[in-house]
Amino acid sequence: MAETLKLEIVTPEETVYSEVVEMVTLPGIEGELGIYPHHVPLMTQIVAGELLVRKGNVETALAVGEGFAEITGTHVSILTDMAISSAEIDEAVAEEARRKAEARLEEKLSVEESAAVHASLAHSLAKLKVKRRHRN
């Protein structure tokens, strides 16, 4: 029996994913991280992007937002503000959100607003990336 990892992805709204998997690839702040069982304990920030989960021979892709990942030899806990599997992403809606966010960036924004706009832009870009790559 192969070694496994317990992967938990939690957003403020719900526990999105909680399963035993074999490998996780996540978008760390300093580049992609591939996590196998027995990884050294690691705490990192993650950025909006694509998260890949391998379980058996099936690979699932999720779009995640900014957050934190805590990694130990046996489990990976991810705290993020968004997590959505590629099947649930609506490309048209994401595209629309991206255009809106880009349009908003042209305006003059307060620090607070521009942070929100940047976050929503990053979210929609991550969604689009995941959706387009796993279209087939």
Partner: protein, 293 residues
């Protein structure tokens, strides 16, 4: 002895009161469902965040963050999370009782919700700031409160920050609680409505050192404020869920009471009406008998 007209008038007024309380009960019930769901949905995130933070601060070595600094003083800021409106049973008075236990001279209040600031003003305590939050609390509102208390703490205006809020247990039970927020010196694995898991303490005992990417200062620098923001957000959600639950229960018992009063009054009214009829009949027959003779 009230006349039948008086009783009729009273029945009418009690009826309209019952209608209002019934409507409020319905509104509170639907809001309650939503508020409860979002409060419960936030708990896994809060639990996990607590666990992560407990482990991380344990393994961060001798790294120190301004928000973790434990100071000797006893000046205290209290974030008092109350409701904006009354008519929700003992919810706010229980909260205020909890707040009243604190030393008047060494405590400043940061209020969220109008009832709290009214209490502070009435009892002549110190009010540092007043925030509002909507029926469905927004993360931005929580962030504003959290920023403010972090600023106070960093500047050294206060040495401790506590939160007083109503913990939502279930529809019938809500418990006012005071929990420490800052300093994050020793993080207790207890947060908004969440008991820390035992497994986390076992893990912390193992002497594994965490790696940090990019480095502890950056990760903790981002994690700690986010933790506080989220914690406050969760407190707001819990408080809202409690408020709507308490209001629903209070309004339900008010409606029940009104119905009971209507029932009693109707009985009395009918008795009186019957007595009147009997009296009139008696008068007529007596008059007839007098005439007949």
């Amino acid at each position: 002895m009230p006349s039948t007209r008086d009783i009729r008038r009273r029945i009418r007024s009690v009826k309209s009161t019952a209608q209002i309380t019934k409507a409020m009960q319905m509104v509170a019930a639907s809001k309650m469902r939503r508020a409860q769901l979002s409060a419960l949905a936030g708990r896994p995130y809060a639990t996990l965040m607590n666990k992560v933070l407990a482990e991380v601060t344990h393994h961060a070595g001798d790294f120190n963050h301004p928000l973790m600094e434990v100071r000797q003083g006893d000046r205290r800021a209290v974030v008092l999370i109350s409701s904006d409106r009354g008519l929700c049973g003992g919810l706010n008075s229980n909260l205020m009782r909890e707040a009243g236990k604190l030393d008047k001279d060494k405590t400043v209040f940061v209020c969220a919700g109008r009832k709290g600031s009214q209490f502070v003003a009435r009892t002549k305590r110190k009010l540092a700031a007043e925030f509002t939050y909507k029926d469905t609390p927004l993360f931005a509102e929580a962030r504003a409160i959290s920023r403010f208390v972090q600023e106070m703490f960093r500047k050294g205006e206060v040495d401790h920050v506590d939160v007083i809020y109503t913990n939502f247990i279930n529809t019938l039970t809500q418990k006012p609680e005071r929990v420490p927020l800052l300093p994050l010196g020793e993080i207790r694995a207890v947060g908004a409505g969440v008991e820390g898991e035992d497994s986390s303490s076992e893990l912390t005992k193992g002497a594994v050192e965490f790696l940090f990417e990019p480095d502890p200062a950056n990760v903790l620098g981002a994690l700690l404020p986010h933790y506080l923001n989220f914690q406050i957000y969760q407190f707001l959600l819990e408080a809202k869920a409690s408020e709507h639950s308490a209001r629903m229960v209070a309004m339900k018992s008010a409606t029940d009471n009104a119905k009971q009063i209507i029932k009693d009054l109707t009985l009395e009214y009918n008795k009186l009406r019957q007595a009147n009829i009997t009296r009139e009949l008696l008068e007529i027959t007596t008059a007839q008998m007098a005439m007949g003779n």
